[in-house]
């Protein structure tokens, strides 16, 4: 490349005819990696109520309750999505594989109350 001003002109002109690098969203389809940390899922039948997830959650976003009896457990996970930072430490901390995540990031709500979900 010879020294001088305007060196990027050629490249810039080429891009006038190039396909856009951006994706169309929300009109188009959202392409997201399957490993992306998003929505948290809970399998109550696997949970033993050890509360390791509650202890390790950095955002204090999880509460675990037993709605059943000691013998017949009916576990419920209450998640405050407004506090959750999607670190998935809860997924790692649970030894029983009761918590999992999926790459779903379309979780916005309009009220703080809606962000508290019972799983």
């Amino acid at each position: 490349m010879r020294k001088g001003p305007g060196k990027i002109t050629g490249e810039a002109l080429r891009h006038v005819f190039a396909k856009p690098a951006t994706i169309s969203y929300p009109a188009g389809e959202l392409v997201i990696d399957k490993n992306y940390r998003g929505r948290i899922n809970f399998d109550a039948s696997k949970c033993i109520g050890c509360k390791l997830c509650v202890r390790d959650c950095p955002a204090n976003a999880i509460t675990i309750d037993n709605l059943g009896t000691k013998e017949e457990k009916k576990m419920q996970l209450t998640l405050n999505y407004a506090h959750c930072i999607f670190c998935c430490q809860c997924v790692d901390s649970c030894n029983k594989d009761a918590i999992s995540f999926e790459p779903n990031i379309e979780l916005a709500g309009t009220s703080r109350k809606d962000m508290i979900v019972k799983l």
Partner: protein, 408 residues
């Protein structure tokens, strides 16, 4: 003689989208004095760490910086592992290194764009940020998020690299290398860029040492200071690293160092992928960390990052101290700004690739006349602002602010 003019730049959006105030005294158009005022965004992260367990702290530490999140969590993990006397597996060390170099790629590409933007070369901003997006995609696939990758855990890493991911990383490395060759050519041959960046924000070899500058700022002044070379961590004892230096000692030199470092990072990523050892990715570390204190240094994209961690034998740290790279680079800023033109101030500030909130601490106000000191907490600051608006006829006290029970 005309009186000198004092211009406050900031605290809203001074060159970068973070708060800081630069009080610039001008003689004509020349800067004769500069006062760097940071401290607008103190988040109390160190204190927050002391109130939580080591595992929870991982995610706080990762949020010290939005650009070099991985290096902060690596430094913290290394500190805790050292205290616990645990050595991570080689595979984990290699994965941490791959992440760190990918992070350097995205950070330097981001900086290149910002530098272009600051000098009115927005075409460069568009191109380099487009390329950075590829790196962010691969970081997200590897870690699980674009910014806070969350790949580190105490004792290793949380996710393994699969053969498909290796292919994806290789592809991105090839594209970035190809595009970066063009940027290097551009930086070296586009005369407007060289004329705009050359000779401004000077920090000579001796001054870089005197002010304790780190990273590309010191390396652009021929100080071969790179922790990956001088004090290797993770897999840098096996990965060949060349510390890139330059002799321009100005903003142009810092640009050259960063674009050449992108090439080095690509080489290192390829080396790690070619020589990735087999084995586990995580070693078990007890929740309670033995008593002791440790200081760990790593090389962030902006320079040396240092973390001090003290444990008292419980599952929570007794003290955490974070010395982000930008904190070291602020000290030379006054010197870099003085003598240059006002129009060059934004790019000189941006050239150290500063992070404001990473470096912000509580501000203590010193009264020069009485010697009194005062610290204002969040609540009294809010009260002050409500009163400030009230006397001007605006009542802001009705605005509800959600208090997090964790902080207040």
């Amino acid at each position: 003689m005309a009186k000198n003019l004092v211009i406050p730049i900031g605290p809203q959006h001074p060159s970068l989208k973070e708060p800081a105030c630069f009080t610039i005294t001008l003689e004509g158009e020349k800067v004769v004095n500069a006062v760097v005022g940071t401290g607008y965004n103190h988040r109390g992260l160190e204190k927050a760490c002391e109130a939580r367990t080591f595992i929870q702290d991982l995610y706080i530490i990762e949020r010290v910086c939005g650009i070099c999140s991985h290096i902060h969590s690596t430094t913290f993990c290394q500190a805790v592992e050292e205290l616990a006397g645990v050595e991570i597996t080689r595979r984990a060390a290699y994965i941490r290194t791959i992440m760190a170099e990918l992070e350097r790629l995205h950070s330097h590409l981001l900086w290149l764009g910002i530098a272009g933007h600051e000098v009115g070369f927005d075409t460069l901003l568009m191109y380099s940020w487009r390329d950075r997006e590829l790196v962010l995609d691969v970081l997200a696939a590897l870690g699980g998020n674009r910014v806070n990758y969350g790949i580190n855990t105490i004792g290793g890493v949380r996710r393994d690299v699969t053969p498909e991911l290796i292919e994806q990383i290789r592809k991105v490395a090839d594209i970035v290398e190809e595009r970066n060759k063009y940027y290097i050519q551009l930086a070296l041959s586009e005369t407007t860029l060289a004329a705009r960046l050359g000779g401004i924000g000077k920090l000579s070899h001796d001054d870089a040492i005197k002010f304790g500058a780190v990273g590309p700022v010191s390396r652009a002044a021929e100080v071969p200071d790179d922790i990956r070379v001088t004090d290797p961590y993770a897999a840098y004892d096996e990965v060949p690293v060349t510390a890139i230096t330059d002799n321009h000692a100005d903003v142009f030199g810092r640009t050259v160092v960063r674009v050449l470092e992108i090439m080095e990072s690509v080489k290192m990523i390829r080396f790690c992928l070619d020589n990735l050892p087999e084995g586990d990715i995580v070693t078990k570390v007890p929740r309670k960390i033995p008593e002791g204190e440790v200081l760990i240094r790593t090389e962030a994209p902006r320079g040396e990052d240092a973390h001090y961690v003290r444990s008292n034998g419980t599952d929570k740290p007794d003290r955490v101290r974070v010395r982000a790279a930008s904190e070291a680079n602020w000290h030379g800023m006054k010197h870099m700004l003085e003598g240059d033109y006002l129009a060059d101030v934004p790019i000189i500030i941006a050239a150290i690739d500063p992070c404001y909130s990473c470096t912000d601490r509580a501000i203590i106000l010193d009264n020069h006349d009485t010697g009194e000191q005062s610290v204002t907490d969040w609540r009294s600051l809010r009260e002050y602002s409500i009163n400030w608006y009230k006397v001007r006829g605006i009542d802001t006290s009705k605005i509800k602010i959600a208090y997090s029970p964790l902080i207040f």
